[in-house]
Protein backbone atom coordinates (compact mmCIF):
# COMPACT_ATOMS: atom_id res chain seq x y z
CA UNK A 1 0.00 0.00 0.00
CA UNK A 2 1.42 3.35 -1.07
CA UNK A 3 0.90 6.34 1.17
CA UNK A 4 1.79 10.01 0.80
CA UNK A 5 0.94 13.31 2.45
CA UNK A 6 0.37 16.09 -0.03
CA UNK A 7 -0.70 19.73 -0.13
CA UNK A 8 -3.09 20.79 -2.90
CA UNK A 9 -3.52 24.38 -3.95
CA UNK A 10 -6.88 24.48 -5.67
CA UNK A 11 -7.67 27.40 -8.00
CA UNK A 12 -10.75 29.43 -7.10
CA UNK A 13 -12.79 28.07 -10.05
CA UNK A 14 -12.27 24.54 -8.74
CA UNK A 15 -13.08 25.13 -5.08
CA UNK A 16 -16.67 23.92 -5.48
CA UNK A 17 -15.70 20.67 -7.23
CA UNK A 18 -15.86 17.36 -5.30
CA UNK A 19 -12.17 16.55 -5.72
CA UNK A 20 -11.79 14.27 -2.74
CA UNK A 21 -14.86 12.29 -3.78
CA UNK A 22 -13.30 11.71 -7.21
CA UNK A 23 -9.98 10.63 -5.69
CA UNK A 24 -11.83 8.07 -3.67
CA UNK A 25 -14.33 6.82 -6.29
CA UNK A 26 -12.29 6.93 -9.51
CA UNK A 27 -8.90 6.00 -8.10
CA UNK A 28 -9.90 3.91 -5.12
CA UNK A 29 -7.71 5.92 -2.74
CA UNK A 30 -8.18 6.09 0.99
CA UNK A 31 -8.05 9.70 2.14
CA UNK A 32 -7.54 11.47 5.42
CA UNK A 33 -8.13 15.23 5.36
CA UNK A 34 -5.53 16.79 7.61
CA UNK A 35 -6.40 20.39 6.89
CA UNK A 36 -8.72 22.34 4.60
CA UNK A 37 -8.96 26.09 4.11
CA UNK A 38 -10.55 28.33 1.53
CA UNK A 39 -9.11 31.80 1.08
CA UNK A 40 -11.83 34.08 -0.36
CA UNK A 41 -11.33 34.85 -4.07
CA UNK A 42 -7.98 33.14 -4.11
CA UNK A 43 -7.74 29.43 -3.73
CA UNK A 44 -8.38 26.45 -1.56
CA UNK A 45 -5.66 24.63 0.34
CA UNK A 46 -6.17 20.99 1.15
CA UNK A 47 -3.76 18.81 3.06
CA UNK A 48 -4.41 15.14 2.43
CA UNK A 49 -2.95 11.83 3.33
CA UNK A 50 -3.64 9.44 0.46
CA UNK A 51 -3.27 5.68 0.60
CA UNK A 52 -3.74 3.08 -2.09
CA UNK A 53 -2.27 1.31 -5.09
CA UNK A 54 0.79 3.18 -6.44
CA UNK A 55 -0.55 3.07 -10.04
CA UNK A 56 -3.85 4.52 -8.95
CA UNK A 57 -2.06 7.12 -6.89
CA UNK A 58 0.00 8.24 -9.91
CA UNK A 59 -3.13 8.37 -12.07
CA UNK A 60 -4.86 10.44 -9.39
CA UNK A 61 -1.99 12.93 -9.42
CA UNK A 62 -2.24 13.22 -13.19
CA UNK A 63 -5.95 13.94 -12.85
CA UNK A 64 -5.22 16.66 -10.27
CA UNK A 65 -2.55 18.19 -12.49
CA UNK A 66 -4.93 18.20 -15.45
CA UNK A 67 -7.35 20.17 -13.30
CA UNK A 68 -4.58 22.79 -12.75
CA UNK A 69 -4.25 21.91 -9.10
CA UNK A 70 -0.77 22.56 -7.68
CA UNK A 71 0.59 19.56 -5.80
CA UNK A 72 3.36 19.71 -3.24
CA UNK A 73 4.73 17.17 -0.87
CA UNK A 74 3.74 18.10 2.68
CA UNK A 75 7.17 17.44 4.09
CA UNK A 76 8.59 20.49 2.36
CA UNK A 77 6.01 22.82 3.84
CA UNK A 78 6.93 22.56 7.48
CA UNK A 79 10.52 23.42 8.17
CA UNK A 80 12.78 24.14 11.09
CA UNK A 81 15.27 27.00 11.10
CA UNK A 82 18.34 25.29 12.54
CA UNK A 83 19.85 28.64 13.50
CA UNK A 84 16.89 29.44 15.72
CA UNK A 85 16.22 26.06 17.31
CA UNK A 86 17.84 25.60 20.73
CA UNK A 87 16.57 22.04 21.20
CA UNK A 88 14.46 22.78 24.26
CA UNK A 89 11.74 20.27 23.47
CA UNK A 90 8.49 22.20 23.86
CA UNK A 91 7.44 20.95 20.42
CA UNK A 92 7.84 17.35 21.61
CA UNK A 93 5.02 17.67 24.11
CA UNK A 94 2.62 19.53 21.87
CA UNK A 95 2.91 17.57 18.60
CA UNK A 96 -0.15 15.31 18.17
CA UNK A 97 1.66 12.82 15.93
CA UNK A 98 5.07 12.56 17.68
CA UNK A 99 6.96 14.14 14.80
CA UNK A 100 9.65 15.31 17.22
CA UNK A 101 11.95 12.94 19.01
CA UNK A 102 14.66 13.51 21.59
CA UNK A 103 18.01 11.99 20.69
CA UNK A 104 19.06 10.10 23.78
CA UNK A 105 22.58 11.23 24.68
CA UNK A 106 22.84 14.62 23.03
CA UNK A 107 19.25 15.60 23.99
CA UNK A 108 18.94 17.08 20.50
CA UNK A 109 15.42 17.36 19.15
CA UNK A 110 14.99 15.54 15.86
CA UNK A 111 12.23 16.70 13.50
CA UNK A 112 10.77 13.79 11.56
CA UNK A 113 9.25 15.55 8.59
CA UNK A 114 7.61 12.41 7.24
CA UNK A 115 5.41 12.12 10.33
CA UNK A 116 4.31 15.78 10.26
CA UNK A 117 0.68 16.56 9.41
CA UNK A 118 1.20 20.34 9.20
CA UNK A 119 -1.25 21.14 11.97
CA UNK A 120 0.91 24.11 13.00
CA UNK A 121 0.82 23.47 16.76
CA UNK A 122 4.62 23.60 17.02
CA UNK A 123 4.74 26.84 15.03
CA UNK A 124 2.58 28.56 17.64
CA UNK A 125 4.26 27.02 20.62
CA UNK A 126 7.94 27.39 19.69
CA UNK A 127 9.26 30.31 21.79
CA UNK A 128 12.21 30.77 19.41
CA UNK A 129 10.04 30.89 16.24
CA UNK A 130 12.16 28.14 14.77
CA UNK A 131 9.27 26.28 13.12
CA UNK A 132 7.79 27.60 9.90
CA UNK A 133 4.78 26.51 7.94
CA UNK A 134 4.10 27.53 4.36
CA UNK A 135 1.03 25.83 2.95
Amino acid sequence: MYSEKIVLHIPSNMVDKPIVYKLSRDFDLEFNILKATVIPNEEGVLVLELKGDKNNYDKALRYLEAEKIKIKSLSKDVTRDENKCVHCGLCVGICPVSAFEVELDSRKIIFKQDKCIACGMCVNVCPYKAMEIKL
Binding site: G89, G93, P127
Partner: protein, 404 residues
Amino acid sequence: MGKTIAEINEKIKKGEAVVVTAEEMIDIVKEKGSETAAQDVDVVTTGTFGPMCSSGAYLNLGHTSPKFKFGGGRTTLNGIEVYTGLAAVDIYLGATALSEDDPKNKVYPGKFKYGGGHVIQDLVEGKDIELEATSYGTDCYPGKRLNNIINLNDINEAVLFNPRNLYQNYNVAVNLSDKVIYTYMGTLKPNLGNANYCSAGQLSPLLNDPYYRTIGIGTKIFLGGGVGFVSWWGTQHNPGVKRADNGTPLTPSGTAAVIGDLKRMSGEWLKGVSFLGYGATLSVGIGVPIPILDEDMAKFTGVSDEDISTSIVDYSKAYPEGISESVGRATYAELKSGKIIIKDKEVITAGISSYYKAKEIAEELKTWIKKGDFFLTEPVAQFPDAESGYKFKPMKMRKLKGGE
Protein backbone atom coordinates in the same frame (compact mmCIF):
# COMPACT_ATOMS: atom_id res chain seq x y z
CA MET B 1 42.65 16.44 52.49
CA GLY B 2 40.91 19.45 51.11
CA LYS B 3 41.93 21.89 48.39
CA THR B 4 41.65 25.65 48.34
CA ILE B 5 40.45 27.79 45.44
CA ALA B 6 43.92 29.38 45.34
CA GLU B 7 45.48 25.94 44.90
CA ILE B 8 43.03 25.09 42.13
CA ASN B 9 43.80 28.39 40.39
CA GLU B 10 47.51 27.62 40.60
CA LYS B 11 46.81 24.32 38.81
CA ILE B 12 44.72 26.13 36.17
CA LYS B 13 47.63 28.53 35.61
CA LYS B 14 50.01 25.61 35.07
CA GLY B 15 47.52 23.89 32.79
CA GLU B 16 47.30 20.97 35.23
CA ALA B 17 43.77 21.36 36.55
CA VAL B 18 41.40 18.45 36.01
CA VAL B 19 38.13 19.93 34.78
CA VAL B 20 35.04 17.86 33.99
CA THR B 21 31.39 18.67 33.36
CA ALA B 22 28.74 17.86 35.97
CA GLU B 23 27.53 15.14 33.62
CA GLU B 24 30.97 13.52 33.42
CA MET B 25 31.36 13.83 37.21
CA ILE B 26 28.42 11.46 37.79
CA ASP B 27 30.30 8.46 36.37
CA ILE B 28 33.60 9.49 37.96
CA VAL B 29 32.01 9.52 41.43
CA LYS B 30 30.16 6.27 40.71
CA GLU B 31 33.31 4.49 39.54
CA LYS B 32 35.96 5.88 41.87
CA GLY B 33 33.92 6.90 44.88
CA SER B 34 33.64 10.44 46.17
CA GLU B 35 36.90 10.39 48.13
CA THR B 36 39.07 9.57 45.12
CA ALA B 37 36.96 11.77 42.86
CA ALA B 38 37.63 14.67 45.21
CA GLN B 39 41.37 14.11 44.90
CA ASP B 40 41.33 13.63 41.12
CA VAL B 41 38.96 16.35 40.02
CA ASP B 42 39.57 20.07 40.60
CA VAL B 43 36.63 21.75 38.91
CA VAL B 44 33.17 20.65 37.80
CA THR B 45 31.44 22.85 35.25
CA THR B 46 27.67 23.24 35.20
CA GLY B 47 25.34 24.87 32.70
CA THR B 48 21.79 25.90 32.04
CA PHE B 49 19.94 27.56 29.18
CA GLY B 50 16.32 28.60 29.43
CA PRO B 51 13.85 31.46 29.71
CA MET B 52 14.67 33.60 32.73
CA CYS B 53 12.08 36.36 32.99
CA SER B 54 13.79 38.40 35.67
CA SER B 55 16.47 39.56 33.27
CA GLY B 56 17.35 42.85 31.67
CA ALA B 57 20.10 45.27 30.86
CA TYR B 58 20.97 48.77 31.91
CA LEU B 59 22.41 51.05 29.29
CA ASN B 60 24.09 54.42 29.38
CA LEU B 61 23.09 56.01 26.10
CA GLY B 62 25.59 58.90 26.12
CA HIS B 63 24.66 62.57 26.07
CA THR B 64 23.16 64.39 23.09
CA SER B 65 23.70 67.97 22.05
CA PRO B 66 21.54 69.79 23.06
CA LYS B 67 21.16 67.59 26.09
CA PHE B 68 18.17 65.33 26.63
CA LYS B 69 16.90 63.93 29.93
CA PHE B 70 15.56 60.43 29.39
CA GLY B 71 15.10 60.11 33.15
CA GLY B 72 11.48 60.70 34.07
CA GLY B 73 10.40 60.79 30.44
CA ARG B 74 9.24 58.05 28.13
CA THR B 75 11.63 56.03 25.95
CA THR B 76 11.23 53.09 23.62
CA LEU B 77 13.78 50.89 21.84
CA ASN B 78 12.36 49.34 18.67
CA GLY B 79 9.00 50.32 20.11
CA ILE B 80 9.58 48.49 23.41
CA GLU B 81 9.11 50.48 26.60
CA VAL B 82 12.18 50.89 28.79
CA TYR B 83 12.45 52.08 32.37
CA THR B 84 13.74 55.66 32.60
CA GLY B 85 13.50 56.32 36.34
CA LEU B 86 17.26 56.69 36.65
CA ALA B 87 19.79 59.45 35.89
CA ALA B 88 19.52 61.50 32.70
CA VAL B 89 20.85 59.01 30.15
CA ASP B 90 20.67 55.68 32.02
CA ILE B 91 17.84 53.32 31.14
CA TYR B 92 16.87 49.76 32.06
CA LEU B 93 15.56 47.45 29.39
CA GLY B 94 13.56 44.59 30.90
CA ALA B 95 13.21 41.22 29.19
CA THR B 96 9.42 41.07 29.47
CA ALA B 97 8.72 44.65 28.35
CA LEU B 98 6.31 45.03 25.43
CA SER B 99 5.36 47.76 23.02
CA GLU B 100 2.34 49.91 23.74
CA ASP B 101 0.60 48.75 20.57
CA ASP B 102 1.15 45.02 21.13
CA PRO B 103 -2.38 43.56 21.32
CA LYS B 104 -1.14 41.37 24.22
CA ASN B 105 -3.90 38.98 25.27
CA LYS B 106 -6.70 41.11 23.78
CA VAL B 107 -6.41 38.74 20.84
CA TYR B 108 -6.18 35.57 22.89
CA PRO B 109 -3.81 33.81 23.02
CA GLY B 110 -1.43 36.69 22.32
CA LYS B 111 1.67 36.01 20.25
CA PHE B 112 4.06 38.50 21.92
CA LYS B 113 6.32 38.34 18.89
CA TYR B 114 8.71 41.06 19.96
CA GLY B 115 9.57 42.22 23.46
CA GLY B 116 12.43 43.37 25.65
CA GLY B 117 14.26 40.05 25.36
CA HIS B 118 14.26 40.39 21.58
CA VAL B 119 15.71 43.92 21.82
CA ILE B 120 18.50 42.56 24.04
CA GLN B 121 19.24 39.86 21.46
CA ASP B 122 19.22 42.41 18.61
CA LEU B 123 21.51 44.72 20.57
CA VAL B 124 23.97 41.96 21.38
CA GLU B 125 23.97 40.85 17.74
CA GLY B 126 25.07 44.35 16.77
CA LYS B 127 21.85 45.35 15.03
CA ASP B 128 20.82 49.00 14.85
CA ILE B 129 18.03 49.85 17.27
CA GLU B 130 15.49 52.63 16.85
CA LEU B 131 15.30 54.96 19.83
CA GLU B 132 12.30 57.21 20.41
CA ALA B 133 11.98 59.41 23.44
CA THR B 134 9.97 62.24 24.86
CA SER B 135 10.80 64.29 27.90
CA TYR B 136 9.67 67.41 29.69
CA GLY B 137 12.72 69.61 29.13
CA THR B 138 14.69 71.42 31.80
CA ASP B 139 17.09 74.36 31.82
CA CYS B 140 20.04 71.97 31.74
CA TYR B 141 18.39 69.30 29.55
CA PRO B 142 16.27 71.26 27.07
CA GLY B 143 15.44 68.42 24.62
CA LYS B 144 11.80 67.30 24.51
CA ARG B 145 11.66 64.89 21.60
CA LEU B 146 14.28 62.57 20.18
CA ASN B 147 14.46 60.01 17.38
CA ASN B 148 17.74 58.25 16.81
CA ILE B 149 19.40 54.99 15.84
CA ILE B 150 21.62 53.42 18.47
CA ASN B 151 24.03 50.51 18.36
CA LEU B 152 25.67 48.52 21.14
CA ASN B 153 29.11 49.65 19.94
CA ASP B 154 28.24 53.33 20.16
CA ILE B 155 26.68 53.55 23.60
CA ASN B 156 28.63 53.65 26.86
CA GLU B 157 27.95 50.89 29.38
CA ALA B 158 25.63 48.04 28.44
CA VAL B 159 25.34 45.68 31.37
CA LEU B 160 23.17 42.60 31.65
CA PHE B 161 21.82 42.66 35.18
CA ASN B 162 19.33 39.95 36.07
CA PRO B 163 17.66 40.08 39.49
CA ARG B 164 16.69 36.41 39.41
CA ASN B 165 18.21 33.58 37.39
CA LEU B 166 19.42 30.05 38.07
CA TYR B 167 16.40 28.65 39.88
CA GLN B 168 17.48 25.72 41.99
CA ASN B 169 14.90 23.19 40.83
CA TYR B 170 11.53 24.08 39.29
CA ASN B 171 7.94 22.85 39.10
CA VAL B 172 6.58 20.52 36.47
CA ALA B 173 3.50 22.19 34.99
CA VAL B 174 0.32 20.31 34.07
CA ASN B 175 -3.27 21.25 33.30
CA LEU B 176 -6.08 19.42 35.12
CA SER B 177 -8.85 21.53 33.56
CA ASP B 178 -10.75 20.69 30.37
CA LYS B 179 -9.47 23.73 28.44
CA VAL B 180 -6.09 24.50 26.85
CA ILE B 181 -4.11 26.96 28.96
CA TYR B 182 -1.24 29.21 27.90
CA THR B 183 1.38 29.72 30.58
CA TYR B 184 5.00 30.70 31.10
CA MET B 185 5.53 26.96 31.29
CA GLY B 186 4.29 26.63 27.70
CA THR B 187 0.96 25.59 26.25
CA LEU B 188 -0.65 22.98 28.45
CA LYS B 189 -3.17 20.64 26.91
CA PRO B 190 -6.34 19.84 28.91
CA ASN B 191 -6.83 16.81 31.16
CA LEU B 192 -3.14 16.14 31.75
CA GLY B 193 -2.39 16.35 28.01
CA ASN B 194 1.29 17.12 28.62
CA ALA B 195 3.75 17.96 31.39
CA ASN B 196 6.42 20.64 30.97
CA TYR B 197 9.51 20.92 33.12
CA CYS B 198 12.23 23.54 33.25
CA SER B 199 15.59 22.68 34.77
CA ALA B 200 18.88 21.29 33.51
CA GLY B 201 18.66 18.80 36.42
CA GLN B 202 22.04 17.17 36.94
CA LEU B 203 23.79 19.96 34.99
CA SER B 204 22.00 22.81 36.76
CA PRO B 205 24.42 25.04 38.73
CA LEU B 206 22.65 25.32 42.09
CA LEU B 207 21.63 21.65 42.10
CA ASN B 208 25.36 20.81 42.07
CA ASP B 209 26.10 23.04 45.04
CA PRO B 210 22.85 22.57 46.95
CA TYR B 211 23.93 24.37 50.14
CA TYR B 212 25.61 27.32 48.32
CA ARG B 213 29.03 26.46 49.71
CA THR B 214 31.02 27.68 46.69
CA ILE B 215 28.46 29.72 44.76
CA GLY B 216 27.99 33.06 46.47
CA ILE B 217 28.28 36.77 45.93
CA GLY B 218 31.23 37.45 43.65
CA THR B 219 31.37 34.03 41.97
CA LYS B 220 32.71 34.40 38.44
CA ILE B 221 30.52 32.70 35.84
CA PHE B 222 29.85 32.14 32.14
CA LEU B 223 27.04 34.56 31.35
CA GLY B 224 25.44 34.86 27.93
CA GLY B 225 28.65 33.76 26.22
CA GLY B 226 30.79 36.27 28.14
CA VAL B 227 32.08 36.52 31.66
CA GLY B 228 29.81 37.61 34.47
CA PHE B 229 29.49 37.46 38.22
CA VAL B 230 26.92 36.47 40.80
CA SER B 231 25.99 39.86 42.23
CA TRP B 232 23.62 38.84 45.03
CA TRP B 233 21.25 36.04 45.85
CA GLY B 234 18.31 36.20 43.50
CA THR B 235 14.86 37.54 44.30
CA GLN B 236 12.52 34.90 45.73
CA HIS B 237 15.56 33.02 47.11
CA ASN B 238 13.98 30.39 49.33
CA PRO B 239 16.67 28.19 50.86
CA GLY B 240 14.59 26.73 53.70
CA VAL B 241 12.47 24.28 51.67
CA LYS B 242 12.54 20.52 52.28
CA ARG B 243 15.53 18.75 50.82
CA ALA B 244 16.48 15.22 49.83
CA ASP B 245 19.32 13.46 51.67
CA ASN B 246 21.71 14.56 48.91
CA GLY B 247 20.86 18.19 49.70
CA THR B 248 18.87 18.96 46.56
CA PRO B 249 15.64 20.85 47.30
CA LEU B 250 12.34 19.09 46.58
CA THR B 251 10.68 22.27 45.28
CA PRO B 252 11.94 25.55 43.75
CA SER B 253 14.48 26.99 46.17
CA GLY B 254 17.64 29.07 45.77
CA THR B 255 18.17 31.69 43.06
CA ALA B 256 20.98 34.03 42.02
CA ALA B 257 21.20 37.56 40.67
CA VAL B 258 23.86 37.89 37.99
CA ILE B 259 25.67 40.70 36.21
CA GLY B 260 28.02 41.00 33.24
CA ASP B 261 29.19 43.12 30.32
CA LEU B 262 26.58 42.79 27.57
CA LYS B 263 29.11 43.97 24.98
CA ARG B 264 31.08 40.77 25.42
CA MET B 265 28.10 38.44 25.21
CA SER B 266 26.53 36.79 22.16
CA GLY B 267 23.14 36.16 20.59
CA GLU B 268 23.94 32.47 20.72
CA TRP B 269 23.43 32.55 24.50
CA LEU B 270 20.90 35.36 24.88
CA LYS B 271 17.75 34.79 22.89
CA GLY B 272 14.50 36.70 22.86
CA VAL B 273 11.56 34.32 23.22
CA SER B 274 7.77 34.51 22.90
CA PHE B 275 5.42 32.41 24.99
CA LEU B 276 2.01 32.07 23.39
CA GLY B 277 -0.65 33.68 25.57
CA TYR B 278 1.89 34.66 28.22
CA GLY B 279 4.47 37.14 27.02
CA ALA B 280 7.96 37.82 25.79
CA THR B 281 11.13 37.14 27.71
CA LEU B 282 14.80 36.25 27.38
CA SER B 283 16.52 32.88 27.38
CA VAL B 284 19.85 33.11 29.13
CA GLY B 285 22.80 30.74 29.06
CA ILE B 286 24.74 30.49 32.33
CA GLY B 287 27.57 28.24 33.41
CA VAL B 288 29.04 28.10 36.89
CA PRO B 289 32.32 26.40 37.80
CA ILE B 290 32.31 24.48 41.06
CA PRO B 291 35.63 23.94 42.84
CA ILE B 292 35.95 20.43 44.28
CA LEU B 293 37.29 21.53 47.65
CA ASP B 294 36.62 18.27 49.43
CA GLU B 295 34.73 14.98 49.37
CA ASP B 296 31.39 16.67 50.09
CA MET B 297 31.70 18.81 46.96
CA ALA B 298 32.51 15.67 44.93
CA LYS B 299 29.38 14.03 46.31
CA PHE B 300 27.24 17.08 45.56
CA THR B 301 28.49 17.43 41.99
CA GLY B 302 28.10 13.69 41.42
CA VAL B 303 24.33 14.05 41.72
CA SER B 304 22.38 12.57 38.81
CA ASP B 305 18.91 13.03 37.35
CA GLU B 306 17.72 9.90 39.20
CA ASP B 307 18.49 11.61 42.52
CA ILE B 308 16.81 14.96 41.83
CA SER B 309 13.06 15.16 42.01
CA THR B 310 10.50 17.90 41.77
CA SER B 311 6.89 18.67 42.37
CA ILE B 312 4.13 18.48 39.73
CA VAL B 313 1.79 21.47 39.90
CA ASP B 314 -1.59 22.14 38.28
CA TYR B 315 -1.35 25.45 36.40
CA SER B 316 -5.11 25.65 35.74
CA LYS B 317 -6.02 26.13 39.42
CA ALA B 318 -3.38 25.57 42.12
CA TYR B 319 -0.77 27.87 40.58
CA PRO B 320 -2.98 30.81 39.53
CA GLU B 321 -4.85 30.73 42.85
CA GLY B 322 -1.67 30.47 44.87
CA ILE B 323 -2.63 27.17 46.47
CA SER B 324 0.44 25.22 47.45
CA GLU B 325 -0.64 21.81 46.30
CA SER B 326 1.10 19.15 44.29
CA VAL B 327 -0.36 16.43 42.08
CA GLY B 328 2.69 14.23 42.37
CA ARG B 329 6.45 14.06 42.07
CA ALA B 330 8.90 13.03 39.38
CA THR B 331 12.66 12.72 39.09
CA TYR B 332 14.50 14.39 36.22
CA ALA B 333 15.41 10.94 34.92
CA GLU B 334 11.68 10.16 34.67
CA LEU B 335 10.94 13.55 33.10
CA LYS B 336 13.67 13.04 30.52
CA SER B 337 12.38 9.57 29.64
CA GLY B 338 9.59 11.28 27.69
CA LYS B 339 6.66 10.30 29.86
CA ILE B 340 5.62 10.16 33.48
CA ILE B 341 2.63 8.73 35.32
CA ILE B 342 0.31 11.26 36.97
CA LYS B 343 -2.93 10.12 38.60
CA ASP B 344 -2.57 6.74 36.84
CA LYS B 345 -2.32 8.44 33.46
CA GLU B 346 0.71 8.31 31.18
CA VAL B 347 1.62 11.91 30.37
CA ILE B 348 4.08 13.07 27.72
CA THR B 349 6.85 15.33 29.07
CA ALA B 350 8.67 18.22 27.41
CA GLY B 351 11.54 20.42 28.48
CA ILE B 352 11.52 24.21 28.34
CA SER B 353 15.12 24.55 29.40
CA SER B 354 17.48 23.21 26.74
CA TYR B 355 19.65 20.41 28.09
CA TYR B 356 21.46 20.35 24.76
CA LYS B 357 22.58 23.98 25.18
CA ALA B 358 23.28 23.47 28.91
CA LYS B 359 25.75 20.77 27.94
CA GLU B 360 27.38 23.03 25.37
CA ILE B 361 27.83 25.71 28.06
CA ALA B 362 29.39 23.27 30.55
CA GLU B 363 31.75 22.10 27.78
CA GLU B 364 32.61 25.67 26.75
CA LEU B 365 33.37 26.71 30.33
CA LYS B 366 35.49 23.57 30.73
CA THR B 367 37.52 24.61 27.68
CA TRP B 368 38.00 28.16 29.02
CA ILE B 369 39.32 26.85 32.34
CA LYS B 370 41.54 24.20 30.76
CA LYS B 371 43.08 26.80 28.48
CA GLY B 372 43.80 29.01 31.48
CA ASP B 373 41.46 31.75 30.28
CA PHE B 374 39.13 31.54 33.26
CA PHE B 375 40.00 31.36 36.95
CA LEU B 376 37.77 30.58 39.89
CA THR B 377 36.80 33.10 42.54
CA GLU B 378 36.21 32.82 46.23
CA PRO B 379 32.73 34.15 47.13
CA VAL B 380 32.93 37.55 48.81
CA ALA B 381 29.90 36.66 50.94
CA GLN B 382 27.63 33.62 51.19
CA PHE B 383 23.95 33.37 50.26
CA PRO B 384 21.44 32.98 53.09
CA ASP B 385 21.59 29.22 53.56
CA ALA B 386 19.12 26.44 54.39
CA GLU B 387 19.37 27.14 58.13
CA SER B 388 19.19 30.94 57.87
CA GLY B 389 15.43 31.20 58.15
CA TYR B 390 15.43 33.40 55.03
CA LYS B 391 12.07 32.97 53.29
CA PHE B 392 10.11 33.78 50.15
CA LYS B 393 6.84 35.36 51.31
CA PRO B 394 3.57 36.00 49.49
CA MET B 395 2.29 39.58 49.30
CA LYS B 396 0.61 40.79 52.45
CA MET B 397 -2.82 42.18 51.56
CA ARG B 398 -4.04 45.25 53.48
CA LYS B 399 -6.83 47.74 52.94
CA LEU B 400 -6.32 51.49 52.92
CA LYS B 401 -7.80 53.12 56.01
CA GLY B 402 -11.32 54.27 55.20
CA GLY B 403 -11.28 52.23 51.98
CA GLU B 404 -13.65 49.45 50.97
